[in-house]
């Protein structure tokens, strides 16, 4: 029987969970030492459960979840690849988990080595001159890059540069991060072939523009082949190139962002470097820059001393400062470092080659069944649409996505990028086998067939998931955002 009660509803007054040890010092009463106005008596509604209650509660919840370990998760631009178990073990080593951020540098040389060496590895992979692993996730990396841009132009007396050019295929975080750093957004359209043309950039680029912020490969899964020329146009007018590195999984070992004229890039370790996404974080968003921008990187920085030891420094007068406490998502960094060392340079190159091969193989499989709006060889992901199904039987991308759930697949990213109506953005990643891609193609064709023959079944999907279609409108109209004890 389905027990959908919350923790609080399973609570039994007087039941105890995990008690702290018997006190080895005299217990003192807060009321003897603090003013009565400061003392809290009780935490109303807080749950009271036993250990076995909790084990069953969360085990049951986990069974309602779909993860990469459950099945294929071709969520475009999210790079949901296999998360190696060994990295979880490594990040649980006491030598990493049981170290305090304010321990003296001399006691944490191993941790500083991880940070320093990971920064070196990411420099080599991206071709950038300097990397900081400080930002907490991709969006914070973007904000970091944008604030660095602002400081850089301020120091050059070019405060008038207040615009950022952003293509219409961009992730929503791009304009949001730009705005947070005080820039206004100038949208630019991708051309008919799905990429940016040099002409389009030439038209909007001016002396009041700080940067072009682009994603390469872009969110249509296409390599921005004009990037060098575009970078030249932007640089000529004194602007810089910011690259959202969300799609780095397509180019490792094949090309370097530094060679493309990119000045700033943020990476997503929870995508490309397989530190798990955790149901919405923690991520990590290192930032890579050219030598010219290095002084603006956030603090603290890890530096090498003459005697070969490492230490932290905040002595960076041009730095934008810090975006968080301490030094970044350290245990995530440990996992990314392990991932890179396990694969090596050759392995990382193989990762990107295979990711591209998988995406193209998948796209070819869908040809003829689904509309392919930008039909040419893609990088690590491809975009198809619901155009044919919608015209023929009124079945939409949303319906197709929900029906895929019934066949054991996580749906692709849907209705994104916004420039493609009814988009399904599919990223198989390199860790999916030929057989699982064949199965996804088979199922997508089957769903398309069902759309013709039995559209109602598709439109009311999912049928075999833990829940039927969920009413998100009701959730937004009458927000219930927490549990409360019924009066």
């Amino acid at each position: 029987m389905l027990d959908d009660r919350l923790l609080f509803e399973k609570s039994v007054v007087g039941r105890t969970g995990i008690r702290p040890p018997v006190p080895d010092v005299p217990l003192v009463k807060p009321s003897d030492l603090l003013p009565a106005t400061l003392i809290r008596e009780d935490i109303e509604g807080f749950p009271e459960l036993s250990e076995i209650d909790l084990s069953r509660h969360y085990t049951a919840l986990s069974s309602l979840n779909f993860g990469i370990d459950t099945g294929m998760y071709p969520l475009g631009s999210c790079t949901m690849k296999y998360n190696p178990k060994v990295n979880e073990d490594i990040a649980s080593l006491k030598g990493f988990t049981a170290i305090h951020p304010y321990m003296p540098d001399s006691l944490v040389q191993g941790a500083l080595k991880v940070i320093c060496e990971l920064e070196e590895l990411l420099k080599e992979i991206t071709g950038m001159d300097a990397v900081s692993v400080h930002p907490s996730a991709g969006a914070q990396g973007e904000l970091c890059g944008m604030l660095m841009l602002a400081s850089y132009f301020k120091d050059r007396g070019e405060d008038k540069r207040k615009k950022i050019i952003i293509p219409d295929t961009a992730h929503g975080t791009n304009p949001a991060s730009s705005a947070l750093a005080g820039f206004s957004v100038v949208p630019v359209k991708t051309d008919k072939s799905g990429i940016l043309s040099a002409e389009a950039i030439r038209e909007v680029m001016d002396e009041e523009t700080a940067a072009l912020m682009l994603t390469n490969p872009n969110t249509l899964g296409l390599f921005e082949t004009n990037i060098k020329e575009i970078a030249d146009i932007v640089h000529e007018k004194g602007g810089l190139i910011y690259c959202d590195g969300a799609n780095l999984n397509a180019i490792m070992g094949l090309a370097k962002l530094g060679d493309m004229g990119v000045d700033i890039v943020q990476l997503n370790l929870h995508k490309t470097f397989s530190t798990p996404h955790g149901g919405g974080g923690p991520g990590s968003g290192p930032i890579g820059v050219t030598a010219e921008l290095e002084p603006y990187l956030p603090v603290p920085r890890v530096i090498k001393n003459e005697n070969g030891t490492l230490s932290l420094t905040t002595d960076r007068p041009n730095s934008i400062g810090r975006l968080r406490a301490f030094y970044g998502q350290f245990l995530v960094l440990v996992k990314a470092y392990s991932y890179i060392r396990r694969l090596g340079g050759e392995g990382l190159t193989k990762v990107s080659e295979t990711a591209i091969l998988n995406a193209n193989y998948l796209k070819e499989g869908l040809r003829g069944t689904f509309d392919i709006p930008f039909d040419r060889a893609c990088m690590h992901e491809c975009v198809v649409t619901d155009k044919l199904q919608l015209e023929e039987s009124g079945v939409s991308t949303m319906d197709i996505a929900k029906r895929l759930i019934d066949y054991g697949f996580h749906p692709p990213t849907i209705y994104f990028p916004l420039v493609v109506s009814g988009a399904m953005m599919i990223e198989p990643t390199e860790t999916e086998s030929l057989q699982s891609i064949d199965e996804l193609v088979r199922v997508m064709k089957l769903v398309s067939k069902e759309a013709k023959e039995d559209p109602q079944t598709v439109k009311s999907a999912p049928h075999r998931a833990p829940r039927k279609r969920i009413d998100e409108t009701a959730a937004a109209r009458n927000p219930v955002l927490r549990w409360r004890e019924e009066a």
Binding site: Y415, E472, T473, A476, R477
Partner: protein, 129 residues
């Protein structure tokens, strides 16, 4: 799509009905249809003044947000409180119960620049093609 002939329209998809010295404002059938199920509405307060072409409120569905732009300038004489409570009415009855504001018209000449139903329909046709 229904766009009554007696109303005036804007390119930002608001409708305006003139009642003496007051303008009643809401959003069009086309606007509510493109938004989908409306879940939230934010309006100015009575007594606030609104300025032509500037935002005066926000209407939201689950996955879209749309700013409301003032078709004319003037002081807000009345707001539809019950619509704020039940914004889903915008989907059901955009021209009737889903009126949003009554505004004292400041400059009657601004009214001349509004679109007729015919012009508005032509505009949305161009937009969507």
């Amino acid at each position: 799509m229904n766009h009554p002939a007696e109303l005036k329209y804007t390119k930002e998809h608001e409708w305006i009905k003139i009642e003496g010295n007051q303008a009643v404002i809401g959003i069009t059938d086309y606007a509510q249809d493109s938004l989908g199920d409306v879940v939230y509405l934010e309006l100015p307060e009575e007594g606030d003044s609104i300025t032509r072409d500037e935002g005066f409120g926000v209407v939201e569905s689950v996955k879209a947000v749309s700013d409301l732009y003032a078709p004319i300038s003037g002081a807000v004489a009345e707001i539809n409180d019950s619509l704020v409570e039940s914004p889903e009415v915008i989907n059901d009855d955009p021209y009737g119960e889903a009126w949003m504001l009554k505004v004292d018209v400041e400059n009657a000449s601004e009214l001349d620049e509004l679109l007729s139903a015919e012009e508005y329909e032509q505009y949305i046709e161009e937009e969507s093609s």
